[in-house]
């Protein structure tokens, strides 16, 4: 750990006196030392709260903001203190890190805010001490997951307008996956749903016995045999629709191989295949048995409903995720069944006219008893049989009850996750609408300002003066800035409507809401446009204008949240940046926990130190004695070695 290293270094160097008599060659001269070795108290003023500490304390970690010369940027000569305009509560933890060497994670603070503070002060998140590390990681992961869900929701439930230039395929696929995006897709969705229902009901009704109008023949027939043509027509219609749908999906799928392998497409295939097989199979007695079996598969059409029902999908997903629990259940049940069946068989063997004719025959009894069904078709008659039968039913309850709570909790968790996602999606729409409104307000203000000729400035009338007065200094400067930008790019700002009119399919609405932090991001969805540069520059300018313009408006927080969401979670830490030049010299410190540092201590006599520099960067990959921090410390560099070891 760097603190330990820094403090004990003088001792280690002093102990090197022990090598002196053994040295066969002259040792290199010591590095120059800073003049002031005295200790002084520094005052760090964080938003009004004063923290005082020894300079040495901060110097322990020279790779951070407070430990390096970077803090001089924050030095206020008038008051003689270092002023930081940050959260003083968080700073307490940062300072404690310098003092104790352990970074603790505050429980009541938001983990994102904590991360930001760490990034500001140049501390790597890995420095969080073991006591708090687990919780820190958990909370971070939770946050990241939630943000990822947000992003996914944003992308999935996207704005109603597709990027221009998307092919028919893409549009079709979108329509299939998100039926609510267009009316046609919705209609298609409901039509297929209706036909699935019709098909399933027809299958069911087919088998009901219905009495014909004439009593000859008096025996009852299933409806399917009475009205074969009607049912056949209905079946054909459904299968045609299903086939059409399947082929369309196949055509629209972005990755056909993946689509073919997906579960839903398999269900589709299984749903329509029996019909076609039935068409081509001749109606003779041999095959008709098999043909009848095939018709059973028509019931799989009911699974097509899972595209329409989210709950069904969740159920399927739950079962998949609980596969191990289900497997355990099955396995333990099988074991119990075999054991009890054997026991019952031998217990009842003596009785004549017993139902327990063989062990497999006893399986049925065991299953019925263990699941507490108790049909009563097989009943033990001996006393031993009854005893074991009761044990069997008791144990059955236990065995089945065990994995069930696990499955239930899994289902509940996934269900709630979905609920949350849906709710967030709904809220997202409202939020986006509000943001869009705010932004257009700003742009309109700017455009209004331009229209009023306020930018010309040369003059004049009272109306202009009035208009100017109505805006705050901030707005003035802001508008001036936008104007400068316009002049620079030789393009002008317009509002959304005009722009979307001019560009047709491209809409700014969805895009600007996605534009990230105020710093412009020139490359983005604009690259989808094959239009010429001026247009792209214009869009860029507008996006910039919108994003910068919106900052000045009220719903700044909304935008900030949106921007904050998109900002990459990984903090840019100084340590990681500083570590780069040293990595090349790092011979065996591979683990991410270690950052090697070079310290100028005289190399042991076995080396051949012939450079005048104290630290021998080492020809041919040999590193001078390196210091490794056993716990993720930042590298401990003595100031004098910084210049030397910068290769």
């Amino acid at each position: 750990m760097a603190a330990g290293v820094a403090t004990w270094l003088p001792f280690a160097r002093a102990a090197a006196v022990g090598w002196l008599p053994l040295a066969q060659q002259p040792l290199p001269p010591a590095p120059g030392v800073k003049a002031s070795r005295g200790d002084e108290v520094l005052v760090v003023n964080v938003s009004g709260r004063r923290f005082e500490t020894w300079k040495n304390t901060l110097d322990r970690y020279p790779d951070t903001l407070l430990g390096s010369s970077e803090k001089e940027f924050f030095y206020d000569a008038d008051s003689g203190e270092y002023f930081f305009d940050r959260d003083p509560d968080m700073f307490r933890h940062v300072l404690n890190f310098y003092r104790t060497g352990r970074l603790h994670c505050p429980r009541q603070e938001c983990i994102q805010a904590f991360d930001e503070e760490l990034a500001f002060y140049g501390l790597v998140p890995e420095l969080v001490g073991d006591c708090c590390l687990e919780e820190y990681r958990d909370r971070k992961k939770e946050n990241a997951e939630r943000l990822a869900e947000d992003e996914e929701a944003e992308q999935a439930g996207d704005g109603p307008i597709l990027p221009a230039g998307s092919s028919l395929r893409q549009r079709l696929w979108r329509a299939f996956e998100n039926p609510h995006t267009s009316t046609a897709a919705l209609v298609f969705y409901y039509v297929t749903g209706f036909f699935i229902a019709v098909s399933v009901i027809a299958n069911v009704v087919e088998t009901i016995p219905c009495r014909g109008p004439t009593r000859r023949p008096p025996r009852e027939q299933p409806c399917g045999d009475r009205f074969p043509l009607a049912f056949f027509c209905m079946d054909t219609a459904c299968v045609l629709i299903f086939t059409g749908e399947y082929l369309l999906r196949l055509f629209a799928a972005p990755s056909r191989c993946r689509f073919l392998r997906s579960v839903m497409s398999l269900i589709d295939v299984v749903a329509i295949l029996p019909y076609y097989i039935g068409l081509f199979v001749p109606k003779n007695e041999d095959v008709s048995g098999a043909f009848v079996t095939l018709r059973v598969f028509r019931v799989f059409r009911i699974f097509k409903f899972s595209r329409h029902s989210q709950g069904l999908r969740i159920l399927g997903y739950t079962l998949k995720s609980c596969a191990s629990e289900l497997g355990f259940l099955l396995f333990s049940l099988t074991m119990a069944i075999i054991i009890f069946a054997t026991v019952m068989f031998y217990a009842e063997k003596g009785t004549n006219k017993t139902n327990f004719t063989s062990i497999p025959a006893a399986f049925w009894y065991t299953i019925v008893t263990m699941t507490t069904l108790g049909y009563g078709d097989m009943v033990p008659s001996t006393i031993a049989g009854k005893i074991f039968g009761s044990i069997c039913s008791l144990s059955g309850v236990l065995v089945i009850a065990l994995p069930v709570p696990v499955i239930v909790s899994n289902f509940s968790r996934i269900y709630h996750q979905n609920q949350r996602a849906d709710k967030r999606r709904a809220q997202q729409k409202v939020r986006l609408a509000r943001i869009r409104l705010a932004k257009s307000g700003t742009t309109n203000a700017f455009l209004q300002y331009k229209q009023n000729g306020g930018l010309e400035d040369s003059g004049s009338g009272e109306e202009q003066a009035l208009c100017v007065r109505n805006r705050s200094a901030f707005e003035q400067q802001h508008h001036h800035l936008l104007h400068c930008l316009e002049k620079t790019t030789c393009h002008e700002f317009t509002d959304e409507l005009t722009f979307s009119e001019t560009l047709g399919a491209v809409s700014l609405g969805g895009r600007t809401s996605r534009s990230t932090s105020v710093s412009s991001q020139p490359v983005g969805p604009g690259s989808l446009l094959s239009s010429c540069c001026p247009r792209r520059a214009k869009r860029r300018a507008i996006r910039l204008a919108n994003s910068t313009a919106s900052v000045s408006r009220g719903s700044m927080q909304e935008l900030d949240t949106l921007a904050g969401l998109r900002r990459s979670p990984a903090p840019q830490s100084r340590s990681s940046l500083n570590a780069k030049p040293h990595d090349s010299l790092d011979l065996n410190c591979e683990s991410r926990d270690f950052v090697a540092a070079i310290i100028s201590i005289p190399t042991p006599p076995a080396n051949t130190p012939d450079e005048s520099q104290p630290s021998s960067p080492g020809g041919s990959g040999r590193a001078s004695s390196t210091v490794r921090n056993s716990s993720l410390g930042t590298p401990c560099l003595l100031p004098e070695t910084v210049k030397i070891s910068s290769l």
Partner: protein, 223 residues
Amino acid sequence: MHDCARGFSLSPACCSLLENPTAVLPEDSVEDELEMATVRHRPEALELLEAQSKFTKKELQILYRGFKNECPSGVVNEETFKEIYSQFFPQGDSTTYAHFLFNAFDTDHNGAVSFEDFIKGLSILLRGTVQEKLNWAFNLYDINKDGYITKEEMLDIMKAIYDMMGKCTYPVLKEDAPRQHVETFFQKMDKNKDGVVTIDEFIESCQKDENIMRSMQLFENVI
């Protein structure tokens, strides 16, 4: 120092024995834990230390603050010592040398290095005369503290030093390098060729060696 506590998890980071400086560390870790909770070592008064050592008050203050921060209990025992030292030499194995060094610092041989021991040693190493430094070095090499450095003792020391280098050296470390080095050393130091080096031979030979004399000034400004 957190390596103190972390290095051996609750076990005697602090030694129990400050009341009884000559006692040996108890083997029972339960007792140690109990004692760790109650006993802390407090160093002598600042003025006394200043008189005893060659450091200024300010230097002592700085040193003690660092020491106390790393070892809140006030003492360092051998395990911690080894850990600390190994941080400086990650490539090789510095435990043997750290062991010898610990014995050299632990002048009263109570199994723990207190702040006084620490200061005493540093005072000699950094502010002492050449004679004192050579004396200290001799004490380091003389493992059994009998006043003579034998070839075996020297070999142990040499091997310990070479161990700190680790495997990756240039040129490649040979098996007999320590032994050869010991031979060279004895040739230089052992004037009467009786197979051992006494303190006088040692000091005399060192004072004759210009390199060594020059290097003695190297570490004056460490603090």
